[in-house]
Symmetry: C2
Subunit: 243 residues, 2 copies
């Protein structure tokens, strides 16, 4: 057995926490572990904003759902793509900052390599975590609350705390539906993998006492309408370029 | 000490490998660990293509640099944002697939949460790894070589193998330049952090026998011209929507 792999496989999103605070030493450890992740040419195009202000937390919790766990968790972090430090450096050098989708993509990717290490470090220290995409419901408001300057682009949040629940593991698509050799499989193969997963997913929902939809049903619903349409305009208004 | 955190902190990109093959059981373990990472509403918008075909590997190695390590590594994986399975499900349900930047962003983020677990699992098993952004030099060619259908969007590669080198650790920006509380710091704070890092970075390059530029110099150069300009058009031609 391998402790690192066991820690990864033990992951479930934890949405309820005890009141135990998180010592600063644990946050420091998680930061160093997070920052040890690879970054494309070491550009380190991300930053983290810990939200400790109660009023700001409350407002983020509201716009993201509302989601009670954002109010309650002992530590809440906002993970951002950070192009600002590059902008300042280029400006100081007397050149003009040039950007495009490449910079935004590297920002989202490197922020997420960081975030997964950061999250796993907390889990290795005994905490539970939950990523929060819901704050993309209203990024202009998040931006205003935290007074983020140009180039700092909020991506998602992260709740951390000592677990106060022990949910079951949500099943995943089979590895053979995710890992291929030299080419992508036929649509028939893909749909057969989805059908097999649908059965497993329904069982999981029944076990949790949730409405027993299949995964396909939820995916079909989710991608039959455009979601969070203002996102690109918002990021572009903050200095990203997506074309 | 914590094995998981130690494994993360031990990371350096490894660019030279022994000929030892990677047993399938290790790849299976790394897949399960990778897939255990969080995915937004369990949409699992990613896939992995292992490239074992020598000719395809050779051509990817060429277009990405050339980069000898892509030819030489015992295992080479392409990490993709995968919207295709969602497209097929929506189509089968009789609706029209709707997408936007949100879906692409979630794809890039969830692929990277997966990829960091996948990578760390290999490292925990004793392998060295190197992410490969260079293949974004020519994604249409990568796409053609692997015959990727609409909705499958290559992001980056990953080389894995038993290390045949032991490079030093590339220093990172100080945590206080990356983690803030309730607001982003002043430009003066940011530039002071950068100046401190520049000194450290130069030392690191001198130690490695490399040309002793500062980090700022490399950033100023990198972001004074637009990089990989065809990226957005390529992804849109494959069914993504970035607006």
């Amino acid at each position: 057995m391998n402790q690192t792999i066991d820690t990864m496989r033990a992951h479930r999103s934890i949405r309820s926490y005890t009141d135990d605070p998180i010592p600063q030493t644990h946050i420091d450890e998680a930061m160093l572990a997070g920052q040890a992740a690879a970054s494309s040419s070491a550009v380190q195009p991300y930053c983290v904003i810990r939200v400790t202000d109660n009023d700001k937390r409350q407002q983020i919790a509201d716009l993201a759902g509302p989601q009670q766990k954002i109010r309650d968790c002992p530590a809440f972090f906002l993970i951002c793509c950070d192009l600002r430090k590059h902008m300042l450096i280029v400006e100081r050098s007397g050149n003009e900052y040039k950007t495009g989708l490449e910079a935004f993509l590297v920002g989202a990717v490197d922020a997420s390599l960081f975030a997964q290490n950061f999250t796993l470090a907390f889990e290795a220290l005994g905490y539970g975590t939950c990523y929060i995409g819901g704050l993309r419901n209203d990024l202009p408001k998040v931006n205003e609350l935290l007074n983020l300057p140009d180039g700092v682009l909020p991506l998602y949040g992260l709740c951390v705390g000592v677990p106060n629940e022990s949910p079951s593991h949500r099943p995943r698509l089979a590895p053979k539906a995710m890992l291929f050799e030299n080419e992508y499989p036929s649509d028939e193969h893909t749909l057969a993998s989805i059908d097999a997963y649908d059965e497993m997913y329904k069982e999981y929902l029944i076990e949790r006492g949730a409405n027993p939809a299949t995964w396909s049903e939820s995916i079909a619903k989710k991608f039959s309408y455009a979601n969070r349409e203002g996102l690109a305009d918002f990021y572009e208004s903050k200095g990203a370029k997506l074309s």
